[in-house]
Symmetry: C2
Subunit: 207 residues, 2 copies
């Protein structure tokens, strides 16, 4: 296996439980969480460098120009993006990094970096997705309807992911996701160093 | 996930421990083992339908003509091949099937059926491969030298496999191989039924 870590991009439906899943993966195992950057104002309780890197528009735009984001987008007048430096550094140190990101950004990243592991998190069925959005009790019916409409659109992209990761029971999903990521290291494309080493050793042995 | 089982093709170096690995997978979990067909004579203790299907040359050649083998080859005047019928039947019943096969046959199968899971079993290094061949104590030094030479040639094809499955500790390798196979069911290409169902449910919910 290579010594470089695996970059896992987690996305999926709003209400699929991505946030909790990621939190548990970081808590139970040694995953590093990528922190996004934004130009919006911090909300109460949000910490710079933990919840987001809060940047000025000038700083953000100069980072775009210098290719310092994996992907970025503008929503409602604010920039959001994934800075490369932290992720690259962690991967080079052999750490596995998790990045939670919305679907369009995730697919853009996979196009650029085919080696990343792209997981689509989903409840076991649509009824359960609706129930979770309702149980959250933080949104009115209009917002829930919008989210379900968006899920319908997003479902069209599910087949472009590497794996479908069903979040029915949280503990089970955390465990499954962990083995999916660890198994990914045995993928041949991630074993180039091992293969070259084995080829060289056999050649030497047969001399 | 689809209801159809996964077909796993196991190959790798002679001396990597493939036979023991496959035996343990069948014993500990519910894998079905594909049985090869051959035109060679049964050796003492070998059972037809268990060790091999022992066929006449006429029968074997008519099965070739009718496309009833996944792959076949001729060695030292005898035919060897993998009959499709048993494997297809098991997969359709939702059973996971394991097939142990030499490297050329394995690669031929992957070309025809990209959905199969192709595992390359290898010791952690070349020295250990040599030690295992020596410890077997069933072969003279000339045969061992030949096997190591063959391993060197075979190592050139390692990168055409899906996963590199390192057999250092047997129990660990059995466990890893089991999770590799089970995780393969979550691969998007194996989740076409689930994805279509989810898309249909969301459409219905939003009507």
């Amino acid at each position: 296996m290579n010594k470089r870590g695996v970059l896992t991009v987690i996305s999926g439906f709003s209400g699929a439980g991505k946030g909790t899943l990621v939190k548990e993966l970081v808590r139970k195992y040694d995953y590093k969480l990528s922190v996004s950057a934004t130009t919006r104002q911090p909300r109460e309780g949000e910490c710079d460098g933990k919840d987001y890197f809060f940047l000025t528009t000038e700083k953000f735009e100069s980072m775009i120009e210098n290719g310092q984001f994996f992907e970025w987008a503008k929503y409602v007048g604010n920039y959001y993006g994934t800075p490369r430096e932290f992720v690259e550094q962690q991967l080079n140190e052999g750490n596995d990094v998790i990045l939670e990101i919305e679907i369009q950004g995730a697919l853009k990243m996979k196009e650029q970096f085919p080696d990343i592991l792209l997981l689509f998190i989903t409840p076991p069925n649509a009824e359960e997705l609706k129930n979770r959005l309702v149980r959250r009790n933080t949104e009115d019916m209009e917002t829930i309807t919008k989210r379900l409409k968006r899920a319908e659109e997003e479902a069209e992209f599910m087949d472009r992911y590497d794996y479908i990761d069903i979040n029915d029971d949280l503990d089970e999903c955390v465990q499954n996701t962990h083995t999916l990521i660890q198994n990914y290291k045995a993928k041949t494309s991630n074993c180039a160093d091992f293969i070259r080493e084995m080829q060289a050793q056999l050649k030497k042995l047969n001399q």
